[in-house]
């Protein structure tokens, strides 16, 4: 029996009234994979992510996380996923450290182990000196790191990143790349959406490209650019109207 995929999407459809945002897509992301999910604005990337994590109700299709259906076995499925959303959505009443502690609490975790993991993540992402501040006191790059730390606090097996390097400077972007590669090397499955094609090319072993709610390509990165084209050229060709 084959091992369960980290993310297994089958026939996903998501409609908003008359508009079909995601139109019958199927994807299989293997455990431990670094997977890129690319597409132009409005193509359906964030809607797909929202459907995976339960923020969007599916119109049709199924999604399972490491074998757990995200609708019928939602508790098990959600415990396995960490999300770093595109927009910052921290709790403004909590300190940086408490953002992590409370996030763990929502996942049913508490105690010394959580405290130690929060301190470890703050250390790893260079936020220890800011731990008592409110998140509004952080720079954009620090918020991005906090978002990543929060996504990891409950030790998920699948990490979903919605444009994690949007608006950060080159230095931090490279730093984030190194962290993500290290996390992936530790066995974490990473599902990444980004508008930076060089980022996808550098990090992702396999890439799917979505246009107008439909998958137009899904291949290992090296196969996508096998004919000597750059990923940007391939992307533009596949996503042109």
């Amino acid at each position: 029996m084959p091992a369960a995929a980290a993310i297994d999407i089958r026939g996903l459809v998501k409609c908003y009234d008359d508009f079909t945002a995601v139109d019958d897509i199927s994807l299989r992301v293997e455990a431990g994979e670094f997977f890129g999910f690319l597409g132009p604005n409005g193509a359906g990337k964030t809607t797909t992510i929202n459907a995976i994590v339960g923020l969007a109700r599916k119109t049709g299709g199924t999604i399972s996380i490491l074998g757990y259906d995200n609708q019928t076995q939602w508790r098990e499925a959600r415990r396995l996923v960490g999300v770093s959303p595109q927009e910052f959505n921290f709790d403004r009443y909590l300190s940086i450290r408490d953002v992590l502690i409370y996030a763990a609490g929502y996942f049913g975790l508490r105690g010394r182990h959580v405290d130690e993991r929060a301190d470890m993540l703050l250390e790893r992402f260079g936020l220890t000196s800011k731990s008592k501040l409110e998140y509004t006191k952080l720079s954009g790059g620090q918020k991005r790191r906090l978002s990543l730390a929060r996504a990891l606090i409950h030790e998920p097996q699948v990490l979903i990143l919605d444009e994690p390097t949007a608006g950060v400077d080159v230095e931090l972007r490279l730093e984030l790349w190194a962290w993500l590669q290290a996390l992936n090397a530790e066995g974490l499955t990473v599902f990444l959406t980004t508008h930076y094609l060089e980022e996808a090319q550098e990090l992702c072993k396999r890439i799917a490209i979505i246009r107008a709610g439909r998958i137009v390509a899904e291949k290992p990165t090296h196969e996508l650019i096998a004919d000597g084209s750059t990923l940007q050229e391939v992307f533009l060709e596949l996503t042109k109207s």
């Binding site: 339960g54 969007a56 109700r57 996923v81 959505n89 609490g105 996942f107």
Partner: protein
């Protein structure tokens, strides 16, 4: 059942209340002080006893109910709406938390705030006008039930609202008028007989009438019927908000 998540949200709501203490804890205490001085002590000295106690003592349980209702509704409606507005509620929506756990966390946090405010006003009542609850079971029971009812209503309006202004609709046009005519300042027995029957259509009348009995030992209605009315309304309100939360009304697209 994810009890840790429920308690985490409860704690978060308590932290939030303390972070905005100048908005949510001190104003009801100061308002109550003003009511006690102006209505209870200044004007009330000209009123003979009501239900066997001085007017100032009669006023205290009504004022506690007024603030419990206001704080329960305000806490849940504004916290939930703010969470929607800032998207911070997504933290709970992506976590393994059921509708029961999310609603329970908000309601318990709101109840904690209500008990704190009620406790402070009770202490003021003891010190200023020697108003002491006689039946503590009824005292805590009614506060808890009323807080649950208005917390649930707050959550319903926190979900319905598309802007902060919408949250004020229920308070401005329904809760405040019904509270003021529901017996905070008067006993039903002080009203003309024709108006007394109208009080029975005011749900807030039941809350104040039952709660005042915990102080004076006297009430217009037998407390059993008032408590049954509050329980029934609470069950309906909780049922509605649990359903809204379970389907992700205005939370999940």
């Amino acid at each position: 059942m994810n009890a840790v998540a429920l308690l985490t949200l409860t704690k978060r709501e308590m932290v939030r209340s303390l972070k905005v203490i100048n908005q949510v804890i001190w104003p009801p205490i100061i308002t109550t002080l003003l009511y006690v001085f102006v209505f209870g002590l200044a004007l009330g000295s000209r009123i003979p006893t009501v239900q066997g106690v001085t007017y100032a003592q009669f006023l205290i349980p009504g004022l506690i109910m007024l603030q419990v209702i206001d704080s329960s509704y305000g806490e849940c409606s504004s916290s939930l709406f703010q969470g929607r507005f800032m998207n911070s509620i997504q933290e709970m929506l992506i976590a393994p938390m059921s509708a029961v756990e999310i609603v329970g966390g908000y309601v318990l946090g709101s109840l904690a705030r209500s008990l704190l405010i009620a406790g402070l006003i009770t202490a003021l009542g003891v010190v200023l006008v020697h108003a002491v609850p006689q039946n503590w079971v009824l005292y805590f029971g009614v506060i808890c039930l009323v807080s649950i009812l208005f917390s649930a209503l707050g959550l319903i309006f926190g979900l319905f609202a598309d802007k902060f202004d919408h949250i004020a609709i229920l308070t401005t046009f329904i809760i405040t008028p019904l509270t003021f005519v529901g017996g905070v300042f008067t006993s039903a027995s002080m009203l003309p007989p024709a108006l007394r029957h109208f009080e029975l259509f005011n749900p807030i009348f039941y809350t104040i009438d039952a709660f005042r009995r915990s102080y004076t030992g006297d009430s217009y209605l037998a407390p059993f019927w008032s408590i049954m009315a509050i329980v029934l309304l609470s069950v309906i309100a909780l049922g509605i908000v649990l359903r809204m939360m379970a389907v992700g009304y205005k939370l999940r697209t």
